[in-house]
């Protein structure tokens, strides 16, 4: 028996705390560093996202320079420079040298980065693969440039500054230089692809990219007005978990349960608060700190039963239909673009909004499947297309109805590009790699409706186009057979063939005009044949109900 006690104690000796940096050093694939190609892209993405976020926070039109230089086989120097606010000296080390350090984690606000883990993970990846420090230049507009060189001590998850000095320089902005192991590829999911997609959904941004082959790419501004800055909001009460409620009750300053509900949650009036409390059969004057466990449970159940108004939507800042249209046209040159910005909606208490764009024809590739560009808070999603709710919604949409070819529930084919943009204070990714949006029924529903809205616009365009070419074709057909008819009638009767021919040709011209009028009517008739928007919403809602009961979350 003594032996066994020893064994348990022996085992116990091994237990120790693990630093989060150590954890992610071993699990870097969780953060998008899975292979050389993707790792290089991840570094660029994290930095570009940060720059865009910073510029927007300062409400300045973003002007970003990206450079990739090949040092040797599978080794690159990556440089980025922006015209954002810069970073105050005291925070530089922690922002780049500490995982889980950031400004946005506790906020409910639409932004690109969310976890305070992105750029510091790049630093970690850089030091792990090349052993080099990352160099940061920051100007906050006070005439100085703070220059740091640093890496992360993974044992303690803390920055190690190897060099630090200040020089003089005008303007504002941040510049980062790092060396990373990576692989440079062209085509799909390339850095060019990522930057181009970024340009599409951030039309107020100017991007310059110097690629490893020394070629300079300019993605210019399509609009010169920044979208309004999204506001921070309080959490919404619907879908709150018991554990979260318990924690909030503990730290609130509210004196009673009514004021707790009306002050700590988004858009909750006294009337609704009363309704919730009555439903829970709880004393409304009770201090939040004194609620028993059973009362909390009753409260949760009552919240679930009570209809509460949606959260405010000024926390969301869509790109807008016109701006997306310009972005698509500038980068991809289709002959037609339809864009839709849906009204805000809510999934599990989080406000979100869907924007859809469809480009058709023009320079787009006629062969194969349509291109899908997915975005979350203006960031392109490049990987895991198949696992993404945005793609799934697209595939489940019946595109034949809108004039595209589609086999079963697959991606439609033809010269088409789709952009699907989800904005939210909290985008539910399926993994920290930020590649795919999770399949919440409410999200799928909104995307489908957005696609259908845009699909209807496209279908009107396509059928107009088809009608016009149909009339031309008909005219040609009628013209074609006239000589044969005239000659045959002449052979039978002996009448003059040319006379018959001329008369028929003259008659044809008159008829085509009336035909064109008729065709317009056809147009209307055919559109009426399609489903109304109301019917489509009902249909989509019905489908989702079934799904929800199957895999309830």
């Amino acid at each position: 028996m003594g032996n066994e006690i020893t064994r348990a104690h022996e085992l116990a000796e091994d237990h120790k705390e693990i630093s989060v940096a150590e954890f992610f050093e071993k699990n870097k694939h969780l953060l998008g560093y899975e292979n050389l190609q993707k790792s290089l892209l991840t570094c660029v993405r994290e930095a570009v996202d940060n720059s865009l976020d910073a510029c927007e926070e300062m409400h300045v039109l973003p002007d970003i320079y990206v450079e990739l230089k090949k040092i040797k086989e599978n080794r690159f120097k990556f440089t980025i420079e922006d015209n954002g606010p810069g970073i105050v000296k005291e925070h530089i080390a922690n922002i780049f040298g500490k995982l889980l350090y950031g400004s946005k984690f506790h906020k409910l606000q639409q932004s690109r980065g969310q976890q305070g883990i992105g750029i510091s993970a790049s630093v970690l990846y850089s030091q792990l693969t090349t052993g080099k420090d990352t160099k940061i230049y920051s100007k906050i507009g006070d005439g100085k440039v703070h220059v740091y060189e640093l890496h992360i001590d993974t044992k303690t998850n803390a920055p190690v500054i190897s060099k630090e000095h200040t020089i003089y320089g005008n303007g504002r902005g941040t510049r980062i230089e790092m060396e990373v192991k990576g692989k440079y590829m062209k085509g799909k999911r390339s850095i060019f692809d990522y930057l181009q997609q970024t340009a599409v959904m951030n039309p107020a941004t100017k991007l310059v990219y110097l690629d490893p082959e020394g070629k300079k790419h300019l993605f210019d501004r399509a609009v010169t007005k920044l979208a309004k800055r999204p506001k921070e909001i309080k959490p919404h009460i619907s879908g709150i978990e018991l554990g979260t409620l318990k924690k909030m009750l503990k730290i609130t300053n509210a004196r009673n349960i009514v004021s707790f509900i009306t002050t700590e949650f988004s858009r909750l009036g006294k009337q609704t608060a009363d309704q919730i409390i009555i439903g829970a059969e709880v004393d409304p004057k009770l201090s939040p700190k004194n609620l028993t466990f059973n009362e909390m449970e009753a409260l949760i159940e009552s919240i679930e039963r009570t209809k509460v108004s949606n959260p405010p939507t000024d926390c969301l800042s869509p790109v807008g239909e016109t701006a997306i249209e310009k972005g698509i046209k500038k980068e991809l040159h289709p002959e037609f673009v339809a864009t839709i910005t849906r009204k805000p909606a809510v999934y599990r208490g989080n406000p979100f909004q869907i924007e859809v764009g469809i480009g058709y024809g023009g320079d787009l590739d006629k062969e194969g499947q349509a291109t899908i560009m997915r975005f979350a808070n203006r960031v392109p999603l490049l990987y895991e297309q198949a696992a993404c709710a945005l793609t799934k919604s697209l595939m489940q949409t019946e595109w034949k109805r809108y004039g595209l070819s589609q086999v079963g529930t697959s991606i439609p084919t033809g010269p088409v590009i789709f952009t699907i943009h989800m904005i939210s204070v909290w985008v539910p990714y399926t993994s920290e790699g930020k590649e795919a949006v999770a399949s919440y029924p409410d999200i799928i529903k909104e995307v489908k409706l957005g696609l259908q809205d845009a699909g209807r616009k496209m279908q009107v365009y396509l059928s107009r186009k088809k009608r016009a070419s149909d009339i031309e074709e008909k005219k040609e057909t009628f013209r074609k057979y006239i000589p044969e008819i005239a000659s045959a009638l002449s052979r039978i009767t002996g009448n003059d063939a040319k006379g018959i021919k001329d008369k028929l040709n003259k008659d044809l011209e008159g008829r085509v005009e009336s035909l064109e009028v008729k065709t317009e009517q056809y147009d209307d008739l055919e559109l009426n044949k399609g489903k109304t928007e109301k019917e489509e919403i009902e249909e989509v809602t019905e489908e989702l109900k079934e799904e929800m009961t199957e895999k309830e979350e």
Binding site: K474, F478, A488, L489
Partner: protein, 364 residues
């Protein structure tokens, strides 16, 4: 050749020219040959075309080419009749009218399947049969029996008791004006679906012993075999008995001889034998004559489907036929007439046919 047809064609053409002069939509009025204008005439007991007409307009995108094709076929037939050319096949007519449309690479007719229905249209427009317009189908079939025919084109006297082992070929055109029956001592006609069965009857001189005509159309009957049988029935007043396979396809072959077919309803009016009787094989015969199991073939899905279809046809509504069709479904097998030899080679000659005829054991 009857010159009235060229006159009619010219009238049709002049009508169209007048429409053109008046800036009307040029059109032809054609009896519809689609299902909804085909009906079974309960009194005359034949399949007929109704009187619904279809207007074939030139300025209608779905009819334009057909309109042109119709005029073109009319012109070619007109020319053939005027020149008194020999009879030609529908495929030959297709080639004669096929030519490429000027300033295009499109042909007036892409395929014979486009010209064939137009020929039928022309038959109804001119109220005649294609045979009268110098068009023939490839004939197929043989017959023998005590009948003499004078061929008015060649002047030959054809004696169908002296046609040797091969029998007499049914010619492509058996119309009165070229094929005159001068004598007929035969008392009835037995029609055989299968050549092999006809051949046994011929070899064993069944027709001589029973003083009848035996005729085979080698499967589904061709136009001239049907016309010939119609003449034997109508002009010579000969009773007609039909022996086919015991399966829905056999039943249907019988019904085409008797009442005509839907697809050629217009021809059917002129080629039908409403008094014909179905001699067999019937499901009851299987038991009565103990037809061995090695003659049976399992009915397939397609057979059942065909039985269901046939059951619905107006001309199969007689109680006897409805019962027979149900019995066949229940029996689950078909029996080809070739298979009679499993009893014995002369069973059909010496037992089956004489017995059935003696007892007048027919289906209507």
């Amino acid at each position: 050749m009857d010159t009235s047809y060229t006159k009619n064609i010219k009238e049709e053409a002049l009508k169209v020219i007048k429409q053109i002069d008046n800036s009307e939509n040029p059109n032809l009025q054609i009896l519809r040959r689609s299902l909804n204008n085909v009906f079974f005439d309960e009194d005359k007991r034949i399949i007929k075309l109704g009187d619904k007409k279809e207007t074939r307009n030139y300025f209608n995108i779905n009819q334009a080419k057909k309109f042109m094709q119709t005029i073109k076929i009319l012109a070619q037939i007109n020319e053939n009749l005027q020149k008194k050319t020999p009879n030609i096949s529908t495929r030959q007519l297709f080639y004669m009218t096929r030519g490429i449309i000027e300033n295009s690479d499109e042909e007036c007719f892409e395929d014979q399947s486009e010209s064939d229905p137009i020929i039928e249209d022309v038959e109804v427009v001119l109220d005649t049969l294609r045979e009268e317009l110098g068009l023939i189908a490839t004939p197929d079939g043989y017959f023998v029996g005590d009948i003499k025919v004078k061929d008015l084109v060649t002047g030959d006297l054809l004696d169908y008791t002296k046609m040797g082992s091969g029998g007499g070929a049914i010619p492509a055109i058996v119309e009165k004006d070229v094929y005159e029956i001068v004598e007929c001592k035969a008392k009835f006609v037995v029609v055989l679906e299968k050549f092999a069965v006809w051949n046994i009857l011929n070899q064993t001189k069944f027709w001589k012993k029973h003083n009848c005509i035996i005729l085979t159309g080698k499967g589904q009957a061709g136009r001239s075999a049907r016309r010939l049988l119609t003449r034997l029935s109508k002009e010579m007043k000969l009773p007609v008995y039909v022996l086919t396979d015991l399966d829905p396809w056999g039943y249907y072959i019988y019904s085409v001889y008797k009442q005509g077919s839907i697809s050629l309803a217009y021809f059917s009016e002129k080629s039908s034998v409403p008094t014909a009787k179905y001699i067999g094989m019937t499901t009851r015969d299987i038991i009565k004559y103990k037809i061995p199991k090695s003659s049976w073939m399992k009915l397939k899905d397609i057979d059942y489907k065909r039985i269901k279809e046939i059951k619905k046809y107006d001309w199969f509504q007689a109680k006897e036929w409805q019962e027979e069709l149900t019995r066949l479904e229940d029996f689950k097998y078909k029996v080809e007439s070739d298979a009679f030899v499993t009893k014995s080679v002369d069973f059909v000659v010496n037992e089956y046919l004489p017995d059935k005829i003696k007892r007048q054991d027919f289906l209507p």
